[in-house]
Structure formats: structure tokens, C-alpha cells
Symmetry: C2
């Protein structure tokens, strides 16, 4: 599905009818580019999943994408459903075989690629890492997932050390890009820091799904909340946001996880520009125009009014004197 | 309109089929209460607006509300559409005539009231202030609006000094309540700090509307973004959120502002529980159950995983080395 709605909240970058500057030149604003998302269904075979991913990269290139993002941990089925020390064998270094192959694809297609890799950083030290490959195939930067979930069938704290390098944004041939991963999408702090570091687009490689037994009761609200949170990051920061998820069921029948797909791109006003289905592999491509960031932020100047003098306690777990389930204590 | 959807994402607070504790006792959790919102159309007469507000308070009490919130600056039409030093005459002290009248209503109805007052704190020092009256009529606390907008027809920086007392939450007879005001609703930082201070419910007295000339092109997206941002605060923090807006057109025909109503309450999963229309005065009443906060936060344990070691730069305006409209600088 490719569905790009008409631009809203956009006015020309002109004054008294005259174009003051192009988006290419004097304000060092990035030029428009297209983001592609490869929504995949993972097989038990990592080699086959890599071929599917490379195929999706090529399809997105053919559809005009300049930047393409793959789902979280796309080489494998979602192994965090169980704790097993043997599964650390799935990890690899960066640079390593997957980043090499993605780099070659980036160079061949002339496009930026965001991959997601189970990274072995040192003996016994593993991360859930997004790697950013520029259009020349070089590694521009890594993002090691900062917020690590741990819930039934998502035993990530067992596998992944929390990232230690914050929430950066990286210049590429096409736009300045922030990478965050899955559970990060529930944290406004992460998106804000990436945006303050200059991200024009934040991509979220993701692996999120329904517990089959909960789906009937809670599935709709869970999916809506997930999409809504990420749209809120676009609005709060005036940036593009894209999430790319896997699809399909993994695990025992009646149990396991049904990954809910629904990969999407939204614009700086939070309006969905393109959205994949819940249950099919798909490649979606959508334009990102940095001039819309400029325009949206002019009309919703939230960054102007942040109370940076009053945010210090955001580094507290709980604020002194509060009783988070309190009555009149 | 009163429309309360079935509870979702809720499971009993029990283990092995036994109720472990009631929500009234050992965990010092607040008891369930009902929030009322009074959506009003303001006349040019402050005395008449006060009577309308008091009438709305009584109606919400009759409908079962224990806590009621009035719109932003409900005593007057939205005077910030123009800059005029004579308009500072509309301000009053706290305590003062409006807070006294609201306190009497709170005592008479046995309910908590959140009012919004143009406060004269000292000569030449004015705030946009929410006042919280407990069910005995006493003033529990003030919140002085921290994020002050300034946009065409919303000239608030002229009238209101930014608040200097942060983002507190206050215990009342019915629940622990955070008050934020209008423009604050675009800032995840504000909601987070209020929630960390213990708020079970954040109320947003609001005055937001469409520029009539923009409504056809942008109106739907603007309203959706406004509602979505506040729902995101409910989800990110696992709390109830309520916004109460004014309705009706104020200002010259074809110009001025058309306040968009749409007052609403959403639950800790961000699901809308009740919503008023765009264009009618209305009183909505909706239950808030602190046990749903406990349950939602157990299933979405976002507060557990906040990276408080990595949020320090949220107090920066822009992060070093970033060029927020950059190409490859």
C-alpha cells in the first residue's frame, strides 16, 4: 500500500509572493527524499531472511526510496520469546557479515539503509543495535537500544545490555536521521533528544505483536496506542516518524506472538502518510520534505517555548514527596 | 454527551483467584471518583460567565461528579486576541472573588473544583493560573501556566509571566491531581513531571480554536493532533487525562477564533471515555478508577525502564553539534 495524502498545514516558504530561498541552498536544509519501509515475515532461516531483506531494499529503490529501514532483528525469528544461552550464537559483530552485506546493497543502490542487528560487542556483552549505512556503503553510526523491555515472551533484558551512547542523530546523503528501536517508541524523552540532536526523521525498527489470547479483548487498543504514541513524537517535535514492524505468527499454535505489521510513516503534523497491512509482507515508500519540518515548526513553535529551566527532575525515577498510588499521604 | 466505553486492558487485582487487597486500604490507593468537565460558551459579561460556570458545577455534581474542571480563563472571552493594557483590569488576586465563589460551591457540593483565573500576583505581574479547591472549599494549590504561547490572536506572552513553580500534583479528597493549562498540552515533559509527582489525573483547562480562514484546510488535522497529544500523555504515563475547552466564536465575523470544544476524558490506555461536541455547551462526567492506573502500568511498565541516566540533555535548547535544519554540516 502506498497512500500519500495531500499536504496539510503547509504554506510556501515565501514572503510577499516571492520565494526567499530554495530548500536546497542557503539554509543548509536537506533536500526532499523518500523513505522506504520493508515489512517482513521472518522464517527460521537467517540466510533466507537476509535475502528477503535485500530483495525489499531493491524493491524500495525501484519505487524511488532513498532511505530504507528494515524491521528489528530481521535476520531471525524473535528469539526473545525464550531464554536460552545458545541463542547468543545468533549475535555478530559490527562491522560483520550482515552490515557488510547491507553496505554492499547501499552502495549498489545508492541509498541509505537502516538495519537492525543482534550485536556481539564483546564476550558476554550484547546489544540490540541499529546500524546506519550511508549511500556509499560506509557505516555512519550505530544506535544501541536504550530502553530494554522485559515482559512475558519479550525477555529482552536477558539478551541485551542497555545502550550507553544516548540518542544521537546522524547526517547522511539524504537527510539527518535518528534511529530508535521498538520499546523506545513509548518514551517521549528518546524522541525529543533525537530531535534536539537534529533528526529530521526518526525510524523505529520494531518487533511488536499480540499475545493471541489477549488479541480479542485488547488488540485494537494496543495497536492504536502504539501508533498514537509515535505520531505524538512527530507532532511534539515537528519531524517525520516511521516505524517498520514484522508480521506473521511465531511460536506454538495458540501461544507465541502474532506480530501486527502496520508499518507506517507520519508527517511532522502527525498525519499518517502511508501504512502497511497487519498481516502481509509489504514495501511502502513515502516522501519526506524537510521544508514541511520548517513550516510545521513555524506554525506550532513548540521548541521555542520549552521550559529548559524546569525540566531537571526528568532525571528522577520518582519525584520526592510523591506517592504514586497515594491517597492523602 | 456521556459515553463511557467498556474497560479494556484491565485484569483483577488478585492472585490465584483471591483478592489480595481492595483499592481502598493497604496500598493507599485513591478510591474511584468521577471527573466532570464543564464546556462553556463565554459571553462578554464576566458575571454571567461565573454563573454559567457555577451552574455547570452543580449539574456535574447532580450527575455524580466528585471533581469538576472549568475551561481556561472562564470568566471572560479570550482577551488575548489583542494587546491592550486596560485588559489587565480583568485580573484578580488568589484568594479573590472568583476563588472565593468557587470555594463556596466546592463546599456546598462536597466536590473538588479546578478553576482557571487571570491572576494578579503583584503590580505588573500576572499569571494564567489554575486553582485547585478541595471539597471543603479550601485552596489546595495553584498551578501557574509554565509554557506560554504567542501566536497570531493568542498574544499570551504579553499578558502572562511564565510560571515559576514547576509541575506539581496535589492530594485532594478525591484522587491526586495534576493541573496543566492549554499550551502545556503539547509538552510531554510537563505531563511526565506531573505524573512523576504522583498525578493520577491531569486536567487541562484550555482555550483553543480554529482561525476561521484556516479551518477548511487545516482544522481537522489541528483538532486531531491536539487530542492525540493529550492521549499520548495518558499512555506514556499510565494516567487519566482530561481536557476542557470553551466553544463558540469570539471576535469579528470572518476573523477571530472559533473555539473547537471537544472536551474529553481518556483512560490510562489513552482510550477516549467521553467527548463533548465541537459546538455546544455541555457537561460530561466520567469515572476514574485508580486501580486501572495500577493495572495499566503493570502491563505497560514504562516507568520501570526510563533511562534517567541519559535524559540530562532534556534541559538543553538544542544539542551541541546538531544543526536542526542541517544537511551535511
Amino acid at each position: 500500500m502506498i497512500a500519500c495524502y495531500p499536504a496539510r498545514l503547509i504554506r510556501p516558504l515565501s514572503y510577499n509572493g516571492k520565494q526567499l530561498y530554495s530548500s536546497r541552498s542557503d539554509l543548509t536544509m536537506s533536500t526532499p527524499f523518500q523513505i522506504g519501509l520493508v515489512q517482513m515475515r521472518m522464517t527460521p532461516d537467517p540466510a533466507q531472511n537476509l535475502e528477503t531483506a535485500i530483495d525489499g531494499v531493491k524493491k524500495s529503490a525501484a519505487a524511488g526510496a532513498n532511505v530504507v529501514c528494515l524491521p528489528e532483528l530481521f535476520r531471525t525469528q524473535y528469539f526473545c520469546q525464550r531464554q536460552d544461552p545458545a541463542l547468543f550464537d545468533l549475535a555478530e559483530s559490527i562491522p560483520g557479515p550482515t552490515s557488510d552485506r547491507l553496505g554492499a546493497a547501499a552502495r549498489a543502490c545508492g541509498m541509505v539503509i537502516i538495519g537492525s542487528i543482534f550485536e556481539r560487542r564483546a564476550a558476554g556483552l550484547y546489544h540490540n543495535t541499529a546500524v546506519l549505512l550511508d549511500a556509499d556503503g560506509s557505516i555512519v553510526g550505530l544506535y544501541r537500544k536504550m530502553h530494554i523491555p522485559d515482559d512475558p515472551l519479550y525477555f529482552e533484558k536477558y539478551y541485551f545490555a542497555p545502550g550507553d551512547q544516548g540518542f544521537p542523530a546522524f547526517n547522511t546523503r539524504f537527510g539527518k536521521i535518528g534511529m530508535l528501536v521498538c520499546w523506545d517508541q513509548w518514551y517521549p524523552e528518546a524522541a525529543r533528544l533525537s530531535a534536539l540532536a537534529g533528526a529530521e526523521l526518526i525510524v523505529y525498527p520494531t518487533a511488536i505483536g499480540w499475545h493471541p489470547r489477549e488479541k480479542a479483548e485488547c488488540g485494537k487498543a494496543q495497536h492504536e496506542a502504539w501508533e498514537l504514541m509515535q505520531r505524538s513524537h512527530a507532532i511534539a517535535n515537528g519531524i517525520y516518524v516511521a516505524a517498520v514492524n514484522r508480521t506473521g505468527h511465531e511460536g506454538p499454535r495458540g501461544g507465541g506472538l502474532e506480530f501486527w505489521g502496520g508499518s507506517f510513516v507520519c508527517d511532522p503534523a502527525g498525519v499518517i502518510q502511508a501504512r502497511a497491512s497487519h498481516d502481509l509482507e509489504d514495501v511502502i515508500v513515502c516522501p519526506c520534505d524537510p521544508a514541511r519540518i520548517e513550516n510545521t515548526r513555524r506554525h506550532w513553535p513548540f521548541l521555542r517555548d520549552r521550559r529548559i529551566d524546569a525540566y531537571g527532575e526528568l532525571t528522577r525515577r520518582c519525584i520526592r514527596g510523591s506517592n504514586m498510588t497515594s491517597g492523602n499521604l
